[in-house]
C-alpha cells in the first residue's frame, strides 16, 4: 500500500510537471467552442447533439497524453529500476492508472461544465453527463494507459495508440452517450460494467506488456 502511494504520487507529480494535465482540458474546451461554429448556433440542435459531442471530445482528449504515460519512464530506466526492487509490473501499472485518472478525470469533469454551457445543455443533461463521465473516465484512463504500455518503445507510437484504442472505446461511447437519452438508467449500468472490466483488466494486461517489452 505504501509502495502504491509512493509510485502514484510520483507519477502524479511527473504529470503535473510535464504540464500534460492541461492538454485534455484545453482540448475539450476547444472542441466545445468550435462545434457551434461548425453546425450553426441553433440552440435546439446544439442541445440535442452537444452531449454526444462532448463524449467524443472526452474520448479523444484521453488519447492526448498517451505517449508520455509509459514510454519516457521505460526509456529512462525507471521501470527497470522499479522491477529490480521486486515490485510487480501490475503494481506499477495500477499506481499509474490511479495517478492518470486523478490527473485527468476530475479536470475533464470540471471542464465539461463550461463546455456544456457553450452547447446550451440543460441541467438534467449536464447531471447525466457528469455522472457518465465519473463512471466512464476511469475506463478512458485505463484504456489510454493500456495502449501506452502496448505501444511503448515502438516508432510512431502515438498514432498507433489511437488506432488501437478507438475500437476498444466504442462500448464506452455507446453506453456513455446512451445515458443522455435513456430514462431507465440501463445505459449507466452498462457503462459501469464496461468501465469495471477495463479498469480490472488494465493492471494485468499492462503489466504483461511492460514485462514483454523488456525482452
Amino acid at each position: 500500500m505504501n509502495i502504491l502511494l509512493t509510485l502514484a504520487s510520483r507519477d502524479l507529480r511527473q504529470a503535473w510537471q510535464s504540464a500534460g494535465l492541461w492538454l485534455p482540458v484545453a482540448f475539450l474546451l476547444l472542441v466545445a467552442s468550435l462545434y457551434p461554429f461548425a453546425v450553426g448556433p441553433d440552440a435546439a440542435l446544439l442541445r440535442r447533439t452537444g452531449g454526444g459531442m462532448l463524449w467524443i471530445a472526452a474520448l479523444l482528449a484521453s488519447l492526448l497524453p498517451v505517449d508520455r504515460l509509459v514510454a519516457p519512464d521505460r526509456d529512462a530506466g525507471v521501470l527497470d529500476q522499479i522491477a529490480l526492487r521486486g515490485i510487480g509490473e501490475e503494481m506499477v501499472v495500477l499506481a499509474r492508472l490511479i495517478a492518470h485518472w486523478l490527473g485527468f478525470g476530475p479536470a475533464l469533469m470540471i471542464a465539461t461544465l463550461p463546455a456544456a454551457a457553450l452547447l446550451k445543455l440543460d441541467g438534467a443533461t449536464i447531471g447525466l453527463l457528469e455522472a457518465g463521465l465519473l463512471i466512464g473516465t476511469p475506463a478512458l484512463a485505463a484504456l489510454g494507459l493500456l495502449v501506452a504500455t502496448l505501444t511503448a518503445g515502438l516508432r510512431s507510437s502515438g498514432a498507433l495508440a489511437g488506432l488501437l484504442a478507438l475500437p476498444l472505446a466504442v462500448p464506452l461511447l455507446i453506453f456513455g452517450a446512451g445515458t443522455l437519452g435513456d430514462g431507465s438508467g440501463a445505459a449507466l449500468k452498462f457503462l459501469g460494467a464496461a468501465s469495471l472490466l477495463l479498469v480490472a483488466i488494465t493492471p494485468f494486461a499492462g503489466g504483461a506488456a511492460v514485462r514483454a517489452g523488456r525482452e
Binding site: T6, V78, L84
Partner: protein, 199 residues
C-alpha cells in the same frame, strides 16, 4: 544480511537471433567481486541484466540470493526534481534506513548538490548520483555497468572506497567495464572467452 550469493552456471544469451555468449559460470560469495571485461557489444550489459533478473538467460541457471542494485547508462532520475528528492523517491521504495541516503550522498561527495535539479548536473555528477542510489539502497549485490564512465580521478577514488566498504561488509560487487575500475582482487571474466566464434 541473511544468506547472500549469486551463482551462474552455463549461462548463454541470445539477443536478436545472435548468440552473444555461452557457458558463463560465475560463483559469487559474500565479499567477492568480479570484473567483466571485453570490447563493446560483447554482451557485458546483457550479462548484467541477466544477473539482475531483468533478462532471462537463454540457457543455464541463475541462482540469486539477496537484493540487487544496478546502475547502467540510464539515469532513471526525474530531471526536474532536486537531486535529493529524486534520490529520496528511490530510497523510499528501497525502504532504506534513515540516514542511508545522507551517507550515500556524502560517500559520493554530492551533498552540496542536494538542491540542484537533476537536469543541471554534469555527466560525471549524474553517474555519481546513480552510484549514490546503489549505495543508499542497502542491497547486498551491486551490479555496476561501466561505473567509471565520466568520473574524474577524485570520483573514481570515492567509488573505490565505496566498493571497498561494501565488500568489507560482506557485499558482492560485479562491475562491467572496458576501462580500469578500482576493484580489489576481483575475479576477472574476459567475455571474449565465451563468444560464439568458437562454436
Amino acid at each position: 544480511m541473511s544468506r547472500v550469493g549469486l551463482h551462474l552456471s552455463d549461462v548463454a544469451c541470445v539477443r536478436g537471433g545472435r548468440l552473444l555468449f555461452r557457458g558463463v559460470d560465475l560463483a559469487m560469495e559474500p565479499g567477492g567481486s568480479a570484473l567483466l571485461k571485453g570490447p563493446n557489444g560483447i554482451g557485458k550489459s546483457s550479462l548484467m541484466r541477466i544477473c539482475a533478473g531483468l533478462l532471462r538467460a537463454s540457457a543455464g541457471t541463475v541462482d540469486r540470493h539477496g537484493r540487487v542494485a544496478l546502475t547502467d547508462e540510464r539515469l532513471a532520475l526525474d530531471m526536474e526534481q532536486p537531486l535529493g528528492a529524486a534520490l529520496g523517491f528511490w530510497a523510499r521504495l528501497d525502504a532504506a534506513a534513515p540516514g542511508a541516503l545522507d551517507a550515500a550522498l556524502a560517500a559520493m561527495a554530492l551533498e552540496p548538490l542536494r538542491q540542484v535539479p537533476v537536469r543541471m548536473l554534469s555527466t560525471g555528477q549524474r553517474k555519481r548520483a546513480a552510484l549514490a542510489r546503489v549505495i543508499a539502497s542497502g542491497a547486498p549485490i551491486w551490479l555496476l555497468d561501466e561505473p567509471g564512465n565520466g568520473l574524474d580521478d577524485a570520483a573514481l577514488e570515492l567509488l573505490g572506497d565505496a566498493v571497498a566498504v561494501h565488500l568489507a561488509k560482506g557485499g558482492i560487487v560485479i562491475a562491467a567495464s572496458h576501462q580500469p575500475v578500482p576493484l580489489v582482487t576481483p575475479v576477472v571474466l574476459a567475455m571474449a572467452d565465451f563468444g560464439a566464434e568458437d562454436a
